[in-house]
Amino acid sequence: MSDRPAIAPPRWARWIILACAPRRDRAAIAGDLAERFERQVRELGSRRARRWYASQTVRSLLPLSLASFGDASLRRWIAGALAGVFVSSFAPAIIDRLVRPEVLTGLPLTAWYVVLGVASALAGGFAAVRVARTYTAAPMLALVWLLYAPAGIHLVRDPGRLVGEAPWLLLAVSAAIAGGGLAARRPLSHD
């Protein structure tokens, strides 16, 4: 497309803003931003235009997520949450029981849970978004995941472990959100 501006908006910002936007409005929002960005590049230069785009992203994150939240039907939310809960908590528990005795010999327990937890959170985020068809299902799933995952159970039993577990929990939440983002990528490419 030769008409596109040579200077592109920051990829991370574009991705985030579109991932959070309600599906129905994604094309219009993407178009409006592209149009305004092109104007900003002409009037202010590429650097300030990119900064403008980034600030639009930060300021729009909450309102667009809330709009997406209201956009999804209750049925989709329940379906998404169930898919997420199943994939991110029950499935790894089953796999763990089946696989661990043979595979885990010599592997530290924490390492196993980190790998399993991150993989399951990623898959859970992906599943929730594919079923619920709204990106905001991913943060919600991350919260649900925290309640059910082994790390979450540890925390309920022994809240004093929060400090030690914090980076690991953060990693898991990020993985769930990243999984959701991956799932939201495909429909976005058609916008």
């Binding site: 409005d25 178009g31 409006d32 667009l64």
Partner: protein, 109 residues
């Protein structure tokens, strides 16, 4: 059904759509608000408000044409329906009533 009320930003959005008239899509609405009020409008706040007003039956929307400067993406045009005009009129009446008889000179009431 109770009379629809508008928040400050909703009021601005509805008024801007009426001002822009036929070509009221996201960019035009945001620019009209900025030009008239000096307020920098974020795309997220604007679209959330547009969606809410549409859901409340104050606005209607239709898909427009895709243009190259928009990366081939279509515009969504908005129009204010009779309930939206009514809500705007009511809000204006409230503001006028609050301001009626007030002096803006310092120290005077």
């Amino acid at each position: 059904m109770g009379r629809a009320t508008l928040t400050e930003f909703e009021f601005m959005v509805v008024a801007a759509i009426l001002r822009v008239a036929d070509g009221a899509y996201g960019v035009a609405i945001a620019e009209e608000i900025t030009r008239r009020t000096g307020r920098d409008v974020s795309i997220g706040a604007l679209y959330r408000t547009l969606k809410r007003l549409e859901k409340r039956g104050l606005l209607t929307s239709r898909m427009g044409e895709a243009t190259p400067e928009r990366g081939g993406r279509a515009k969504t045009y908005y129009e204010v329906g009779p309930p939206g005009v009514g809500a705007l009129r009511e809000r204006t009446r409230q503001i006028r009533s609050l301001l009626d008889g007030l002096s803006f000179e310092p120290g005077l009431r």
